[in-house]
Each structure stands twice: as structure tokens, then as C-alpha cells.
């Protein structure tokens, strides 16, 4: 059977290689210093979706992302790897959303796309690390859900079989479609960009990304090739309730950001000063632990 699959993907600051300037003096993320990337576990999810598409001819894979116009890059990255199309949810009213408002917006967009057989996303995003959005979307759409998926074994007669990561092992689960899955980082890595697809889609863009003065290079191509225009939706387009979107729909309020140090037996607390780090290295060298 052919499957309709929607991949939830997020553009995130790359927090894996954090330099000195990663935080602003106010304690918020300095987005200018961190490159925007495809959330790593969403790439794992995309790979699972693309594999299903290969195994089930006629299936479609759509990327759904919410963010500023530049988040269209995530959709292009998906198209370069084999996704069929993408939807960008973008509107000032979506800004400042916590996980509740985000899952509301995403669920409204999925309704507008038309109910898929499978909604799949990464377990969590590396900026918020909440792992809440996937389960909340499932709840809002009244879908079954399986979290922490490491691989999809099969989809037959409306039943999906997956393995999921649990403490101390893995669990094999069967569930009926439609379903929402969140995928773990130890699932198969995503395939690389494909040369032909990159050449085909490199100019794909959302209308809001394009120059306002109409000076669009190769403008005539967009008339000939509808696939070069990424679908872009506002709050009104997905018929969302403004009160449930963005900051207005977000009960979460950040009071303060703190460094948390995990306590363990015989632990030693260091500041990030060069002296302290060097002192530790010297101590380890002296005890012949390293060197």
C-alpha cells in the first residue's frame, strides 16, 4: 500500500559545537554565532520516511516545518534527499511558541494537508530538548504514538512494526495506522543530498524568501516549474485560533536560565577558567591517568 507521510522538521541553532560566544550576556541563545541546521534527530526521521517511500511505491513524503522564512532551507534539504514537497508555517503570530503552541500549529497544518498515514519526527530538538512536540501533536490529532523509534521493520495491512529504544534494551511494537512516531538519534543516519535533486530543487523557495522588489533571478522558471514554489501558510491559512498560537498560546514562561551541574560521588566542580582546566589536566597527568 502507498503511504502518505508527513515529516516534522525543525531548523535549530547548532548547539553541538558551542563556542565562547554561544550565549548572549542576557543568557539567551546567540543565534548569530550558531549556524542554523536541520535538527539532527529530524534527519533520522526523514531517513525512515524515505525508506518507507522506497519500500511502498506511490508513497509521498512531505516536510512540515514552522519558523521564519529562512527555515525553508530545511524543506530544501528534505527535497535534496528525496522528499516530494514541503510546507512552511510562517507568521509573526507563530513566534515565541512553546511546545504547546507549536504542537497546536503543527496539528492544524497537518489537518490542512489532509490526514497522513504516518507523522514522523525526531525525538527532540537540540535547542529545547523537551521531546514534547511529537506526543502533543499526536494527542491533538487523536493519533496513536510510538516514541524513541530506532527502526521501522514493516508496514502491512494497516499495521506498523517498529523497534523502540527503552532503558536497558529495545522493544518491538506493533500498532495500527495512522500513527505518529518520534525517532531516536541512534536510528540510521540520513542519506546524503542527491546530485540530481540538488540541481532540480536548488532554486525552490517560499514566496516570503524572495526579494520584495520582484528582482527574482530566473523568474520565468517559477512559472514553468510549480515545484520550485514551497507552500507557505500563515495562521489564517491553517485556520488556527490566534489565542492558541505563538506567545499568546504559550503557558511556558522562562524565568531564568541556570547552569545545572550534576552531582556525583567524588565529583569535583570546576569553573570554565583556563587555570582550573589546566589544573585538572596536570592532576590527571600526575596521577598517570592520562599522558
Amino acid at each position: 500500500m502507498s503511504l502518505k507521510i508527513v515529516v516534522l522538521a525543525k531548523q535549530v541553532p547548532d548547539t553541538r559545537n558551542v563556542g565562547k560566544d554561544a550565549m548572549t550576556p542576557e543568557g539567551t541563545v546567540n543565534r548569530a554565532a550558531l549556524p542554523a541546521i536541520f535538527n539532527p534527530e529530524d534527519l533520522n526521521a526523514l531517513e525512515q520516511a524515505l525508506r518507507l517511500k522506497e519500500q511502498h511505491p506511490g508513497s509521498t513524503v512531505s516536510i512540515l516545518t514552522m519558523g521564519p522564512p529562512r527555515a525553508t532551507e530545511i524543506i530544501r534539504e528534505g527535497l535534496y534527499r528525496g522528499a516530494d514537497d514541503g510546507y512552511l508555517l510562517t507568521d509573526r503570530a507563530f513566534a515565541g511558541a512553546d511546545t504547546l503552541a507549536t504542537s497546536y500549529a503543527l496539528s492544524m497544518a497537518i489537518r490542512k494537508i489532509g490526514m497522513p498515514d504516518i507523522v514522523i519526527g525526531g525525538r527532540q530538538a537540540i535547542d529545547g530538548d523537551t521531546a514534547q512536540v511529537g506526543p502533543q501533536v499526536a494527542q491533538k490529532l487523536d493519533l496513536n504514538q510510538v516514541t524513541y523509534v530506532t527502526s521501522i521493520e514493516s508496514v502491512t495491512d494497516g499495521t506498523i512494526t517498529v523497534t523502540r529504544h527503552i532503558d536497558g534494551g529495545i522493544e518491538r511494537v506493533e500498532a495500527p495506522l495512522p500513527i505518529l512516531l518520534t525517532v531516536n538519534g541512534n536510528a540510521a543516519p540520513c542519506r546524503p543530498r542527491n546530485a540530481k535533486l540538488v540541481m532540480k530543487y536548488k532554486r525552490a523557495s517560499a514566496p516570503m524568501e524572495r526579494p520584495a522588489d520582484g528582482s527574482l533571478p530566473y523568474a520565468e522558471e517559477y512559472e514553468k516549474k510549480p515545484y520550485l514554489t514551497v507552500t507557505q501558510w500563515s495562521v489564517a491559512d491553517v485556520e488556527a485560533d490566534l489565542q492558541q498560537c505563538g506567545l499568546a498560546g504559550s503557558p511556558t514562561k522562562v524565568k531564568a536560565v541556570q547552569n545545572i551541574v550534576f552531582k556525583a560521588k567524588e565529583s569535583k566542580r570546576l569553573t570554565d577558567s583556563d587555570e582550573e582546566v589546566e589544573g585538572l589536566i596536570k592532576e590527571l597527568l600526575d596521577s598517570h591517568t592520562i599522558g
Binding site: 546524503p192 546530485a195 535533486l197 540538488v198 540541481m199 536548488k202 530566473y218
Partner: protein, 570 residues
């Protein structure tokens, strides 16, 4: 994420060479594919943008997947199972990534599923891959055998084999035999036509066949019974689906462990003729080898880059006598020279690749229509230039990559001798580059005719007239004086009229030519992008000045009488 392409702007500089305009024009022919293929370029800028993006993909795959797998592949190596080869798991992983990225049959026309890329960006991909795993580089780059099948096979063979290669099937070129290595005229693998089977049957043994269990093989075999020289050899296509070729053994090698080097046994293997009978060695294998030599030159540059990167990183990191060793003249001298050789060698490689692109694109146009007299002239000119630079690019770069890995180990000191650092793998992998696809000594044999017929000298003289920057002018003047010394040495050898003396001096003359031409190419680059190349141009000028003096002294002091001192009588 590590990316071998975006981290090395020198490569992108080579991509943007002015000659690319002509190459793209010849390859894309009024951009006629743009309405039939959604990935075909609309104009020159669009084509160049696509090359850049595709190189970025290959740079990422080689900087991540291939680089991460390299150590495991080196330790595991391929497996001999029954009569077949199973790649090391990392190799299979690498191949899968490259196939999924659509990097196979890159230079083939779009109608067969290819990308219609020129040789130049394809060669850049080969360099990027080899920089992370030279052995995997072989398996992947053997796709360029398809060029020869495309050039000399018929329509029917094109439509049956090229799409398979574009879809990711691998290739091999089965040339060497136990008694026919450098001397391929003595190939004995027997090809007999079977009326009953309606095809050729191959019988015999091949040895040292890279990726010998490939899906599609090009095989050099003796089709003319009773002959003993190169004129009795033809080229055949063997399809593994036919069966009849078994892998008897995988060699245990010093380096390039990921690349299975096989001994093959042919037992009534069904094969088909590619091109015409008797032209196997004299025409087709020569074409095949020219492509392969460019590939090894690219592999060598890739390894040189990797060696430089490893040496540089270690020198920055390692402290002795209270400071990072990169601050010591003895160490930075090595690094500066490594970088200069790398930049000079790369300039030569891509100059050669561009020449190949121009004439091969014209060859291809000639299959569609008659060339104009100007185009024929252009085709001849660039074919000659390409033929003259190919042995230099292969010979010089393979020697440079050995020198660079040697120096990189030296910078590592005792740690470099341990198996714990990646540099030992590059050092072992480098060693084959100056041996296979024709040893450096055979590259000299191929190149010496361009010494004696004046081709290299006229290329140098032409470069001397090129406009260069203020800073490069004194270096250009030095290059002119070097060319005078070169011309003097060439004349002396010619005047001696002694073949053995000529053969003994050949290496010196060819190296001089390579040195001077590379210096000119670096001056061109340093004029356009001083921030990338000016230091290397100066360092290289100092280095080759000494080299030229050394070779000049040798040749001028040499005469036939001294040959007796060199001869090793058995």
C-alpha cells in the same frame, strides 16, 4: 560538519578557471537539455553553480562518512568469500552513500542517467574522495572506465551498460597479467569467438586487478591467434551477470587496503568485443590509461592534501621546548614546501583536466556533426596539450604525494611511526601512486617526446609572455632563466645522439619541464588569488630553482663514457 571541499578554497579556485566557460559551452551545447531534464543547467552560471553544489556534497560525504570509515576499512580490508569479493563494511557503506548521492556515471550524457559533468569537476570529486580514503577512491573512480566504453562501444552497448554504471554498478579494467605488467604487449589472456554461443569466450588469468569482482569489466585479451605483440590484442566487455570469471585470491598489500586487488581466473567467460579488433592496446587501452592516469594524479593530490593537513594539525598541537613545534624553522620549512608542492601539483592536475575536457567534448561533438576547421584545430591543439601534461601530472603528483606523506610523518616524530595516527595510513597508501597506471619511470617515457619535440619549451615560452602581478614578475623572470637552463640541457642530450644517455637523462629533463610549468601555473594562480597562492609561489620558486640547478648540473656533466659507471652488469 567536516567538508573536504568547503574547507579548501584552493579547489574552488581551480573550478572557477576562465577556460571553464569554453568547456561548459562545449559540454552543454546551447543548454539544449534544459527543457528535457529538470536538473540540466539553464546557462553558464547555473552550470557552475551546480558543479559547486555537487562538489559540496562530495566534500561532505568524504569529510564525514568516508573519513569516519577509513580506519576501519584499513584494518578490516575486503573479504575473499568463495570465488567472490565482499567489501569491508565501511567500503560498502561509502559506496552506498555515493550511489544514493547520485555520484556515479557523473560524466555520462543525461540520456543514460548521467550528470553530463565535465572531467574537471569529476576529477575534483576524485581528489576529495581520495583525501579521505585512497583505496575507496579506486573503487569509486573506476567509473571512469565508462568513458572508454562510451567512446569506443556501439549504441547498443551504450544503452545496455551506461545506465547501469550511472545507477551505481562498479567497473574494473582487466589489463595486467603475471607476465605482462608494464609491458602490456605480452598479454596472453585468450579470446576465441564461439559460433555456438554467438559471443567471445575468454580464458586465462589476470593479476593485480583493482576491484576485480566489479559488475562490468573492460578486458584486454588476445583475439588474434598466433600473434605475440600489441597488434593482436582487442578489448572486451565482460558482464559479471554472465559468469565465468572467478576471484582466486585477494592480494595482501602495503596500502590502499580498502581496494580489493584480485587475481582473476577466466573460464569460458562470455564477453563481447568493444570497438574494433586489434585496436585493444594501441588505441583503447591508451585512452583508458590516460583517464586512469589523471585519476591517479587526483588521488595523489588528495593524499598530499591530507598529509599536509595532518602535518599542520600535529605541528600546531605538539609542544616541545616550551612552544608549538610549528614555530621552529625546521618544521615550518617542511610544511611550507609541502603546501607549495601541493598547490603546484594541483594546478598542473586541473590544467591537464581542462585540456582533456576541451578535446573530449569536441570529440563528442564530432560524433554528432562534422567539426568546423577551427574546431578541428582546437581539438588537435588541446589533445596534444593534454597528452603532454598527463604523464607530468601523474608522475610529479605521485612523487609529491610520497614526499609529502614522508615529511608529514617526520613532523609527527616518533608518534608518526606508531600506528596510532592516521598519517601512517596515508604514508602507506601514497606508495602505490608512483607505481600503478604506469610507474614514474614509464611516465618519463611518455613525457620525453614532448621534451625532444619542443612542446614543453614552447608552453614555457608562452607562459613567460602572460601578464602576471607585480609581485609575481620577478618569479616569472626566474622561471624564464630556468627555461634557458632547461633548453641548454635538452640541447646537450640531443646533440650527444646516444640513446642510452638520452634514456638516463630523461628523468632529469622531464622533471625540469614539470617544475617550470608548475611554477608558471602557480604564478597564474598567485596573480588571480594572491591570498591563496602567493606564498606557495615564492616557496615553490625557491625550491625549483635548486631543482633546476641540480638537474642541469647533472645533465651538463654527463656523457656517454660515464654510463659504464651506472650500468649494473649481471
Amino acid at each position: 560538519m567536516a567538508n573536504n571541499y568547503s574547507e579548501h578554497p584552493e579547489l574552488k579556485f581551480e573550478l572557477n578557471h576562465p577556460l571553464m566557460k569554453r568547456i561548459v559551452e562545449l559540454k552543454e551545447r546551447d543548454f539544449r537539455d534544459k527543457d528535457s531534464y529538470d536538473y540540466a543547467p539553464l546557462d553558464f552560471d547555473d552550470a557552475m553553480d551546480s558543479y559547486d553544489r555537487v562538489l559540496d556534497i562530495v566534500g561532505e560525504i568524504s569529510g564525514t562518512t568516508i573519513a569516519d570509515n577509513a580506519e576501519g576499512v584499513d584494518l578490516e580490508g575486503p573479504h575473499h568469500e568463495g570465488d567472490r569479493v565482499r567489501y569491508a563494511s565501511g567500503t560498502a557503506d561509502n559506496l552506498d552513500a555515493m550511489v544514493k548521492a547520485g555520484m556515479n556515471g557523473m560524466t555520462m550524457p543525461r540520456r543514460y542517467g548521467g550528470l553530463n559533468f565535465p572531467i574537471t569537476p569529476y576529477t575534483m570529486c576524485a581528489e576529495l574522495v581520495a583525501a579521505s580514503d585512497a583505496g575507496f577512491g579506486n573503487i569509486w573512480s573506476l567509473q571512469d572506465c565508462i568513458e572508454t566504453l562510451y567512446e569506443f562501444g556501439d549504441e547498443d552497448q551504450h544503452s545496455r551498460f551506461i545506465p547501469r554504471v550511472c545507477a551505481g554498478e562498479t567497473m574494473s579494467m582487466d589489463l595486467t597479467e603475471p607476465d605482462a605488467g608494464s609491458d602490456l604487449q605480452h598479454v596472453m589472456l585468450k579470446a576465441t569467438y564461439s559460433e555456438k554461443d554467438g559471443c567471445w569466450l575468454l580464458n586465462g588469468v589476470k593479476r593485480f586487478i583493482t576491484n576485480g569482482d566489479a559488475d562490468i569489466h573492460l578486458v584486454l585479451a588476445r583475439s588474434e591467434e598466433g600473434t605475440t605483440d600489441g597488434r593482436g590484442l582487442s578489448m572486451f566487455i565482460y558482464d559479471k551477470r554472465q559468469g565465468g570469471v572467478n576471484v582466486r585470491r585477494i592480494e595482501n598489500k602495503l596500502g590502499i587496503h580498502g581496494s580489493p586487488t584480485c587475481e582473476l581466473v577466466y573460464k569460458d567467460a562470455h564477453a563481447e568485443l568493444c570497438g574494433e579488433r586489434k585496436l585493444g592496446l594501441i588505441k583503447y587501452v591508451m585512452a583508458l590509461m590516460n583517464g586512469a592516469r589523471l585519476g591517479i594524479a587526483a588521488q595523489s593530490v588528495g593524499i598530499s592534501q591530507a598529509a599536509y593537513n595532518e602535518g599542520l594539525a600535529y605541528a600546531k598541537d605538539r609542544e616541545q621546548f616550551g612552544k608549538a613545534i610549528i614555530n621552529f624553522p625546521a618544521v615550518y620549512d617542511m610544511l611550507a614546501l609541502m603546501k607549495a608542492k601541493l598547490d603546484a601539483g594541483r594546478a598542473l592536475l586541473y590544467q591537464c583536466a581542462r585540456y582533456v575536457d576541451v578535446y573530449k567534448a569536441l570529440d563528442d561533438i564530432a560524433r554528432e556533426r562534422k567539426l568546423t576547421p577551427e574546431e578541428r584545430k582546437e581539438q588537435k591543439l588541446y589533445a596534444k596539450l593534454a597528452d603532454s601534461l598527463t604523464p607530468l601530472a601523474k608522475g610529479m603528483n605521485s612523487e609529491y604525494c610520497n614526499q609529502n606523506t614522508y615529511d608529514a610523518i617526520q613532523i609527527h616524530g616518533g608518534s608518526g611511526f606508531m600506528m596510532d595516527y592516521p598519517i601512517q595510513r596515508y604514508y602507506r597508501d601514497a606508495r602505490i601512486t608512483s607505481i600503478y597506471e604506469g610507474t614514474t619511470q614509464l611516465q618519463v617515457v611518455a613525457a620525453i617526446r614532448y621534451v625532444t619535440n619542443g612542446s614543453y619549451l614552447s608552453q614555457m615560452r608562452e607562459f613567460e609572455a602572460a601578464a602576471v602581478s607585480e609581485e609575481c614578475r620577478p618569479l616569472q623572470e626566474r622561471a624564464r632563466r630556468m627555461a634557458d637552463l632547461y633548453a641548454e640541457a635538452v640541447d646537450r642530450v640531443k646533440e650527444a645522439k646516444d640513446q642510452e644517455l638520452h634514456d638516463l637523462c630523461a628523468r632529469h629533463l622531464v622533471e625540469m619541464a614539470g617544475d617550470i610549468i608548475m611554477l608558471h601555473l602557480l604564478l597564474h594562480n598567485a596573480t588571480a588569488a594572491p591570498e591563496l597562492f602567493l606564498k606557495s609561489a615564492r616557496v615553490y620558486a625557491n625550491f625549483v630553482d635548486g631543482e633546476i640547478a641540480k638537474h642541469h648540473t647533472f645533465v651538463m656533466n654527463m656523457d656517454a663514457e660515464q654510463l659504464a659507471d651506472y650500468r649494473q652488469t649481471v
